[in-house]
Subunit: 323 residues, 2 copies
């Protein structure tokens, strides 16, 4: 039986991954500092063990993982600071939570002789290309600290493939939506409309347009690539092939669901915040050629998530979120 | 008068830069941990002040730079671990000396309100492309920790251009040769042939082929770009346009200069060490279009450096190295 070590496994995407891995009957060890993740997100899952730990602390990590048996181990490194604005204000946040965690994970994997790593990277590594579609071969430098620390992580993982890693899959995530929502525009809009059902202020001019994937489909894509990839170090853009959906349209969908009479007010700036990439289109032809495409468009993924998140916020967190 | 803060300014390239800046009449503050750099390399230079400091220690850095006056300040961030093999054996060396130094330099610049940064990057950010020429737009991931930490540094510098940097010039260095030599193949071959004039063992099969630039020309190129660049964040490959020179040919040139009767023995591996990029060709058309090309070919740059380094090693280090 494979044992999966999932960092950030109590967070939004990690919980969905841990559930999927537990459902195929494997062992799951979750490492999470529980800053954004929550213990109760994992309640009811079988064969899932949670350790609360700062993943950048390689000594603590080594101790926590001492009881993981030898044999087939795969590491899924998902933990990171997902608050891009916080990282822009204080670069040490991304340094610690997004990059030094990767460094520590690699140190432990080297020491334990674990060779298989799956990494949650991001479209933010590409920087700003306007509406030109970015493929895995596209190169510019990221414009946010978050993107910079993810690219830095990709780079040291790639270098580790020259020494001790046997396979690294680098998944470049788009905007991902679904339950349990812990951050992001839909949750933010929902909470603010519940607090004040009369109006909603949107950061940026609302014309920022981005590709969205539902978390259920993203987990499916990652497991598909894991099952079929053969290279030592493979990079995949995960996402829909459409041109995405505008922030103002997302705000409208949340308004219609949560507070139908609210007015929506956009600002003047083209970017929502420093380091925001206002328009972004993904080239996902590599993944499509490999055999996987999402069923939901960006708009459909957002529509589903808007409804899910409204239910989450209008009721307590479900003990076991639905996939 | 401009004050230039040069990290790694007591090392091979830094000393040449500090001299050039002092010769145009500017103030130079050198920050160096003196692990590879040497105090005596800076002897005799006017308006150059050396602080011995771990550049990754932002508190120490802040204290050291307290007396740098307000006004026009430019930072040249050159310090790094230049021992690629050491970084492959212990990734924390590159983390600390190559990446966390960049992070600390940016922290100090942000706090002081200094907006102009020149960064010593490397062709190693490109990974392995065989003999295809790599341009500034080429993208793969680096295959050494050294290249990874340099790419990571580029990425956080690029992100800082969104917040507080007013201009960052990212110079991607090729192999650079000249005086004062502190590391590198020519110095290694020279020292080993002085120790044993009968034979020289070469790491790798000797067919590794790379582009070389003489340090005197590289400083000229950096000052040329500095004088003419207008963008906020500009990336330049620095190097010759030729296909480079083979390691076995370099070994032969050193042998002819230092120990003409020695036999040269190459190994079987295509790479000299883990993370070595065995064949590398630079696309320097961006720099050429901008108006600068080197006068020396790779072979001519190496020939000049072989003679200079032989003189250095057969005599004590000169108090003031020649440009």
């Amino acid at each position: 039986m494979t044992c999966h070590v999932v960092t950030g496994g109590a967070g939004f995407i990690g919980v969905n991954l841990a559930r999927a891995l537990s459902q195929i009957g494997d062992q799951v060890v979750v490492l999470d500092d529980l800053r954004l993740g929550r213990r109760e997100f994992l309640a009811g899952l079988t064969n899932v063990k949670l350790h609360e730990v700062d993943v950048a602390d390689s000594a603590a990590l080594t101790a926590m993982l001492r009881d993981v048996p030898d044999g087939r181990v795969e590491v899924w490194h998902l933990c990171a600071n997902s608050d891009i604005q916080k990282g822009a204000a204080d670069p040490s946040v991304d340094l610690h939570a997004t990059f030094l965690t990767t460094f520590a994970v690699l140190e432990v994997m080297r020491a334990r002789g674990w060779g298989v790593l799956h990494f949650a990277s991001t479209s933010a590594v590409y920087g700003d290309h306007g509406m030109a579609a970015v493929s895995e071969a596209t190169h510019t430098l990221p414009i946010s600290n978050y993107g910079a620390m993810k690219l830095a992580s990709e780079a040291i993982i790639r270098a580790a493939c020259e020494t001790f890693l046997t396979q690294a899959l680098l998944f470049r995530f788009p905007n991902v939506v679904g339950l349990p929502a812990t951050h992001g525009a839909i949750l933010d809009f929902t909470r603010r409309l519940i607090a004040d059902p009369s109006q909603l202020a949107v950061l940026g001019n609302g014309r920022q347009q981005k590709a969205y994937l539902h978390v259920a489909e993203m987990i499916e894509a990652m497991l598909f690539v894991r099952a079929h990839a053969v290279g030592t170090c493979e990079v995949y853009n995960l996402g829909p092939s459409d041109a995405g959906i505008r922030v103002a349209d997302i705000a409208g969908m949340v308004r219609d669901r949560v507070a139908p009479t609210a007015s929506i007010k956009c600002a003047d700036e083209p970017r929502g915040w420093v380091g925001d990439v206002p328009r972004f289109r993904y080239d996902v032809s590599r993944l499509a050629a490999f055999g996987w495409t999402p069923k939901l468009s960006s708009a459909a993924a957002v529509a589903r998530a808007v409804d899910e998140i409204a239910q989450q916020e209008l009721a307590p967190y479900p003990a076991t979120p639905n996939a």
